[in-house]
């Protein structure tokens, strides 16, 4: 798998703990200690999760050596949001074709009676 930004974002999100961390950060910035609190995992483990989130551009960390508070970075999620739309287009596009096909069947039906199968 390539390491393009989207893949990084997706693999960062493919973990329930990291998603929970993001959910927490959606309510405001937090320190590593605060983030670790709800989880039954060690601080180093939380730090590893934070590193993954940071390299995916989903969070930013303060530069004050001691606290390094984490904040949510909306840019990473914004790109996902932009890209969710194509999925809707996949189905919408299919349903457009469904509509056209129904019109075609109707036209054919006028000649062949009610049977719609080919």
């Amino acid at each position: 798998m390539s390491r393009d930004p989207l893949s990084l974002t997706l693999s960062a999100l493919a973990d329930p703990t990291r998603r929970a961390i993001l959910a927490r950060l959606a309510t405001g910035e937090a320190t590593v200690n605060e983030l670790a609190e709800p989880f039954a995992i060690s601080l180093p483990a939380v730090s590893r999760h934070l590193k993954v989130l940071e390299s995916a551009g989903l969070i930013a960390r303060g530069r004050e050596a001691q606290w390094r508070p984490c904040t949510l970075q909306t840019q990473g999620l914004k790109s996902l949001d932009d890209w969710l739309e194509p999925y809707r287009r996949f189905w919408s596009g299919s349903f457009d074709r469904m509509e056209a096909y129904i019109a075609e069947l109707k036209k054919k039906g006028k000649h062949d009676g009610r049977k719609t199968r080919r």
Partner: protein, 157 residues
Amino acid sequence: MAARLADDELLITRTFDAPASTVFALWSDAEHMKHWMGPEGFTCPDVEMDFRVGGAYRAMIESEEYGESWFGGVYREIVRDRRLVFTFAWDSGPSGGVETVVTITLEERHGKTTQTFHQKPFRNAERRDSHVGGWTSAFVKLAAYAAQIANVKEYTS
């Protein structure tokens, strides 16, 4: 966009100028499905389905630009002309093999049929109930849903 995906579900409603039995046939008959599956620019040359509860389906859409894309799943609920529930997963891509659940409901009125298409991640409820809990932010749920369906990027521009 956040509003329409507020509960991490994709919802598309369409009204077709046809009775529910016709719309249902488009989902339940492989030959019919080949005529409409995939957006403009794609063809769907290959559909196989074992249309019964517990039966599987498998299909492929194809375009010059993106090549072949396979997907499939299992039928979970079938109420003729009214309701259809099946799992849906792409074969490959960043989240290939990740299951979603599609629910189609049909409502016929005066010879026209309103189709409600509804898709959500299969494992969502499980995750929601898991120990992490508390991911109430629609923002994050949206992102998680996007991760589930990641591979779509491959099929559309």
